[in-house]
């Protein structure tokens, strides 16, 4: 009898939920790296919680939290080399920050500031993609051109389970397969597209099997196991750089909270119950801590120091965000074209005059 797709694409795990190694990671992950992973996950979680709070306080706008998905994002981004390209969605701040985007920029983005889109010099981190799946062909295109140029550079593109339904998912994977482009298609399957569960999104039980439609490699991994995430992503990145083409990785995970701060997950799932189970049994941060503790690499004292450090870092960034110079209305006309067209100039001029008038009338009232 033919194996079912779930059997053909088993969920690969390296670290058990209890924090036990299932396979050796020798030569791949040493203690230092493991500690670094842990620190990054904790800082990112701190960031996420802080952001949710700040949204409630009106200090930033609608925010898309990722708590629960730290291992998928941190682990995969750590598997990249500096010159690689990263294409994130609106939920992948942890991946972006791990790869080098500043906390300040991410905060600015969610504060409604276009300045939050700009990546650090020398790093290829695209701004968060809002229209679902549209980043997939971009990553395929960058990777394809890296190959043309003969550069050993890979691209990684993030997307969700819901994104696999869009035509751009299909077109992007097909192009990448035809041109054997060095790209990693990294699907964070968190089980939901806003409210729609995977079972209504697709008939298949796995996303990895969709690779079969393109004759590329597909694998399914435990997205809450940062070792599995890191290792398989790293292998896919190295494979890409060896010229062996694209990989589709399905990282099975779960978001603890709402889709965004505008969403109420109790409408579509048993939120409290499910969240509790996930947090208790499958939490990616706790899992790694258990491992570190079992190896004698971690203890409460270290934990407290780290929590402290995380808070300091995040608070510092928040401070920077809040003292960031206010945007000027005229800014919206910048960078539309390399050189402003006449009507953009004219409109910018109008807006500048308007601001001026308003400033004066305020001054007058005050006087």
């Amino acid at each position: 009898m033919r194996k079912s797709m779930e059997e053909q694409f088993p969920v690969r795990q390296i670290l058990s939920p209890e924090g036990k190694l299932i396979e050796s990671v020798d030569g791949w992950i040493d203690d230092e790296l493991a500690l670094d992973m842990y620190e990054k996950m904790v800082i990112n979680r701190t960031f996420d919680r802080k952001s949710v709070t700040m949204q409630r306080q009106g200090r930033i706008g609608t925010y898309a939290p990722f708590e629960g998905q730290e291992a998928t994002q941190v682990g995969s981004a750590m598997a990249l080399d500096d010159q690689d390209w990263l294409f994130p969605t609106y939920r992948d701040h942890a991946a972006m920050m791990t790869f080098g985007q500043s906390i300040l920029r991410v905060l600015l983005y969610w504060k409604g500031r276009i300045e939050g889109c700009v990546p650090p010099e020398g790093k290829h981190i695209l701004p968060p993609y809002v229209p679902i799946a549209t980043q997939i062909p971009h990553a395929a295109g960058v990777a394809w051109s890296s190959k043309m140029k003969g550069e050993a550079v890979a691209s990684i593109v993030y997307f969700g389970d819901g994104a696999t339904s869009e035509g751009d998912f299909h077109e992007g994977l097909n192009f990448a397969s035809v041109y054997n482009a060095p790209v990693v298609f990294f699907c964070q399957n968190n089980g939901y597209a806003i409210s729609v569960p995977m079972s209504r999104q697709m008939k298949t039980k796995t996303i990895a099997q969709k690779a079969l439609a393109y004759d590329i490699e597909g694998i399914r991994i435990d997205g809450n196991d940062i070792f599995a995430v890191y290792l398989h992503t790293r292998q896919a990145v190295e494979k890409a750089k060896r010229g062996e083409g694209p990989t589709l990785i399905e990282a099975v995970t779960y978001r603890y909270g709402a889709h965004t701060t505008a969403d109420d997950p109790r409408k579509y799932r048993e939120q409290e119950k499910e969240e509790k189970i996930r947090r208790e049994k499958y939490d990616p941060v706790d899992r790694l801590r258990r491992y570190l503790e079992s190896k004698g690499l971690w203890d409460d004292e270290k934990e407290q120091a780290l929590v402290q450090k995380a808070e300091t870092i995040i608070n510092q960034a928040v401070k920077e965000m809040e003292s960031y110079p206010a945007p000027q209305p005229e800014d919206m006309f910048e960078h539309i074209f390399a050189e402003k067209t006449w009507n953009i100039k004219e409109q910018q001029q109008q807006v500048a005059e308007e601001s001026d008038r308003q400033r004066k009338s305020v001054q007058k009232e005050l006087a």
Partner: protein, 327 residues
């Protein structure tokens, strides 16, 4: 019997009435069922009418519009929700090349009596691409009707009319008006006819045309100018952008001799241009001043920290009125 309700509630009633009354009506879209839509416009309807009539679809706009076309060919009346107007583009080919054309191509043998509802416009501090206002794309496509309510009453009556219309209707719901005001709305069924504008206020000095969220801005500016300068205006909510209500526009412009159009969309190639052209065609020599456009700018709708500076304001419209009247 009437009840005070928001636009969200009024739209919901429209759909509920049609779902109840006509078996052929179904709702389709992302997150509209269990979740009741991201704005809760379809809240509770799946519980009432079942998963086969209020359908949570996969995340694929071309698939949604395309399968809805199939439904319509087969005698259903799909009311499709696109989660935000800025996400209709993956389904744009289906809209432009099929939804709008199947009646003509089959010489009436098939029709596509569907409604595509979608929240649109800025002003709610939405993320990128959640604030688009590209109504003029659809106005340019032969075979589509384009409708934009600005009040709860109109929203209900226009949506019912759109669902009952034998042709496809793009139904744009201004997000910032969803809950901005409540008004008395009849509980029973009624329609507001497509193609008819609503004259909200009458005046002598200028005709102001707006739709969606800009109606309130236009109205406030008109009132302010009346108070401050004594000028009176026709304030007209177009409600339908295609086919627009030419008689009302013409009569008003020929009465006042001055016109101003307010829209959120980018200025260049926006609906304002078509209205100016209509006035040029019909009423040019009545004009005492150029027709003014107070619109969004020719830049992507900015991130929300600047969206208020992008959107027409009472200030800007007031100045437009002043400039036009004192031209």
């Amino acid at each position: 019997m009437t009840a005070k309700m928001t636009m969200v509630q009024a739209l919901q009633q429209a759909m509920e009435l049609k779902l109840k009354e006509d078996d052929r009506v179904i709702l389709m879209g992302e997150d509209i069922g269990l979740n009741g839509g991201v704005f809760r416009v379809t809240d509770g309807l799946q519980a009432k009418f079942g998963e086969d009539r209020v359908i949570d679809t996969p995340l694929a706009e071309s698939g949604i519009v395309g399968t809805a076309v199939g439904m319509a060919l087969n005698g259903m009346i799909p009311v499709v929700e696109i989660q935000f107007l800025g996400f209709i583009y993956p389904g744009f080919e289906q809209v432009v090349s099929h939804v709008s054309r199947l009646r003509a191509r089959t010489q009436g043998r098939y029709q596509v009596p569907m409604v595509i509802r979608t929240p649109y416009g800025a002003g709610i501090r939405g993320p990128e691409l959640h604030s688009e206002s590209v109504e003029s794309f659809f106005v340019h496509v032969p075979g589509l009707k384009v409708v934009v309510p600005s009040t709860p009453y109109d929203a209900k009556g226009l949506l019912i009319a759109a669902i009952e219309d034998p042709d496809p209707v793009i139904f744009l719901e201004p997000t910032s008006m969803y809950r901005a005001l409540k008004e008395e709305v009849p509980e029973d069924k009624y329609t507001v006819p497509l193609g008819k504008a609503r004259v909200i206020e009458e005046g002598e000095d200028i005709s102001i045309f707006a739709w969606g969220a800009m109606v309130q801005v236009a109205l406030q500016a008109a009132r302010k100018m009346k108070e401050q300068r004594g000028w009176t205006a026709d304030v007209i909510d177009l409600r339908t952008l295609y086919p627009f209500d030419r008689d009302t526009i013409k009569a008003s412009v020929e009465k006042t001799g001055r016109a101003l159009i307010v829209h959120e969309a980018h200025r260049t190639g926006g609906m304002g241009a078509e209205l100016i052209s209509f006035i040029n065609d019909e009423s040019l020599f009545y004009l005492k001043a150029p027709v003014a456009r107070v619109t969004g700018y020719d830049v992507p709708v900015p991130f929300f920290s600047l969206e208020d500076d992008y959107l027409p304001t009472v200030e800007r419209v007031s100045r437009g009125i002043e400039q036009t009247i004192t031209y």
